[in-house]
């Protein structure tokens, strides 16, 4: 009689555990809508991503995107007013990461995501753009972004969902 094939062999516990899908991990963070808090958030996120085993390139991409997203909220949703609050939930599941960002500030203009079109650089020095780089960077370095404006009664909030690859 032939020996059992691998597929029919009973796995021992270590092997079985290594073949399970990776467990999702998640962190929730709340920050004031100001630039110093955004810097601190980035440091905290970098540490968390390292702790859950995300590699340096994916960490750098996610951190940069989150900096751009959060700075946009500070500058435009709250117009640098005091007391704005931003809630971020960041999850990792295997090779995917998801950020959910919620804030109670002003809606995105036209209730839609800004363009991924890059400002032109092939222009004379005096006409070089000094802004408009943020959203194209967000689009370039993420796997997708969704925006919802949610309102119930007097309360309205912006909800952004950003998908990332954790490819290294």
């Amino acid at each position: 009689m032939n020996a059992p094939t691998r597929a029919s062999r009973i796995l021992d516990a270590d092997e079985a555990l290594s073949q399970l899908p990776p467990t999702p991990v998640r962190v929730e963070m709340r920050l004031n809508a100001e630039q110093s808090a955004v810097r601190q958030f980035q440091a905290d996120l970098t540490l968390w991503l390292r702790n859950v085993g995300v590699g340096p390139i994916s960490t750098a991409n996610a951190t940069l995107v989150m900096a751009e997203v959060l700075n946009n909220i500070v500058e435009h949703a709250f117009d640098r007013q005091d007391n704005g609050i931003i809630d971020v939930t960041f999850s990792r599941c295997g090779t995917e990461m998801v950020a959910n960002v919620v804030d109670g500030g002003r809606a995105l203009p036209g209730l839609s995501l800004p363009t991924d079109k890059k400002p032109p650089v092939n222009v004379p020095i005096s006409q070089l753009p000094e802004g408009g780089f943020g959203w194209p960077l967000i689009h370039d370095l993420s796997d997708g972004v969704c925006y919802t404006r949610a309102s119930s009664g007097a309360k309205a909030e912006n909800r952004l969902t950003i998908l990332f690859a954790a490819s290294d």
């Binding site: 940069l64 900096a67 751009e68 700075n71 500070v74 650089v121 780089f133 960077l137």
Partner: protein, 111 residues
């Protein structure tokens, strides 16, 4: 915003002694570079070797400085670390600036 500066003939190397040029310090960076603009050298190399992080605000600040210096002073960059290089590449600003691996090697090159 801390810089250290060194002169080499017609060239001024300005080394940024900070780890980040970002939304929180973009204005201070621009203000500090305005003062550098009075140095009288026609060529300034911005050494970014210590800078680990630059976001779109930081990029905008560097571009603003290049515009402010022009045409009397050319602004070149050196020592771009990975995230900084990525931001310049994705925005295509790496086509606008002359970028060197190292500031000291850049001095010897002609304009």
């Amino acid at each position: 915003m801390n810089f250290s500066q060194s002169e080499h003939g017609d060239v001024l190397i300005v080394r940024v002694e900070e780890e980040r040029i970002d939304a929180a310090c973009a204005i201070q960076f621009k203000d500090a570079m305005q003062a550098v603009g009075r140095c009288g050298k026609p060529r300034v190399i911005l050494d970014l070797e210590r800078v680990d992080f630059l976001d779109s605000s930081g990029l905008g600040a560097v571009v603003a400085v290049m515009k402010f210096f022009s045409p009397g002073i050319t602004l070149e960059l050196a020592g771009l670390t990975p995230i900084v290089a990525k931001v310049f590449r994705l925005t295509r600003m790496d086509q606008v600036f002359r970028i060197h691996d190292r500031a000291d090697a850049a001095v010897a090159l002609s304009t």
